[in-house]
Subunit: 161 residues, 2 copies
């Protein structure tokens, strides 16, 4: 019976670990991923404003300036263009965090958490069903042993005189 108890202890531990550690930690990852994604979106919006203002400055220098300055304007404009390309990559990464991390994690957690609780309940019930008769038998045996022992002493006492 000892190995069965050990197996039960290990199984219990796995469920405990899942519900008290793994699931809350995974939830925390999801919560943090969401706030990270939100911050990235805000950054994207701010970056677009920043790049646009640089582009406007460059465009204005290019068109309204006199000799020499239009070259500086052209360079500023090119900086803005380079920024735009980087920004597109940045926004792709932001989207990826949503589609590759947040969405699957949310769906997974939603189903897994429920399944985990259900599995744990199912296991407990099964364990009870299996060990119930055995525990009963052990208790009955103990009772019987005690009864026999006291009867034995009584018989011995009876036989003694």
């Amino acid at each position: 019976m000892k190995t069965t108890e050990e197996a039960h202890y290990l199984t219990e531990n796995i469920y405990k670990n899942l519900s008290s550690k793994f699931n809350p930690l995974t939830k925390q990852v999801l919560v943090n991923a969401k706030s990270y994604h939100k911050a990235l979106l805000a950054t994207s919006s701010a970056a677009r404003g920043y790049i646009e203002s640089i582009g406007k400055l460059g465009h204005d220098c290019k068109t309204h300036a006199s000799s020499g300055t239009e070259e500086i304007g052209q360079s500023i404009y090119r900086v803005a263009e380079a920024y735009k390309e980087i920004q597109i990559k940045f926004e792709e990464c932001t989207k990826a965090i949503f589609t590759e991390v947040i969405l699957p994690l949310e769906q997974k957690l939603d189903t897994e958490l429920k399944a985990c609780v259900a599995e744990q309940r199912k296991y407990h019930q099964g364990h009870k069903e299996v060990t119930g008769p055995y525990t009963k038998a052990v208790a009955a045996l103990e009772k019987f042993k005690k009864k026999n022992q006291s009867k034995g002493i009584f018989d011995a006492e009876k036989e003694a005189p």
Copy 2:
């Protein structure tokens, strides 16, 4: 005098362009750079939270899990480590925007704006001083011409009969 007037027109235009276009646009770049920087800082903070939660999950899987799972934990932990390195670069870029864009632009704008206004005032005053006597002389000449003309007509009328 036409070339002088043209030069004056061009100079005026440069000052006008500076005060009505270049300076406000540069100011806009500074304002947008500041809000971009603020958003980047917020993103950094959110990213740190996100990375930390992934690291915790990985660490927990590595230490509390049974066979097989610790390898997944190790991988998750490594993902967090890679994220950390990227985050360090990201924070360096954020710092660079502050030290390479915001600070110099702020100092430059502060001194340049004042200098631009002072220069414009100085130019206007100088221009007035130079053109004042000429404008007066032109007005006096016109007056003299008119006087002479009316006198001439009067004399002609006088001589006519």
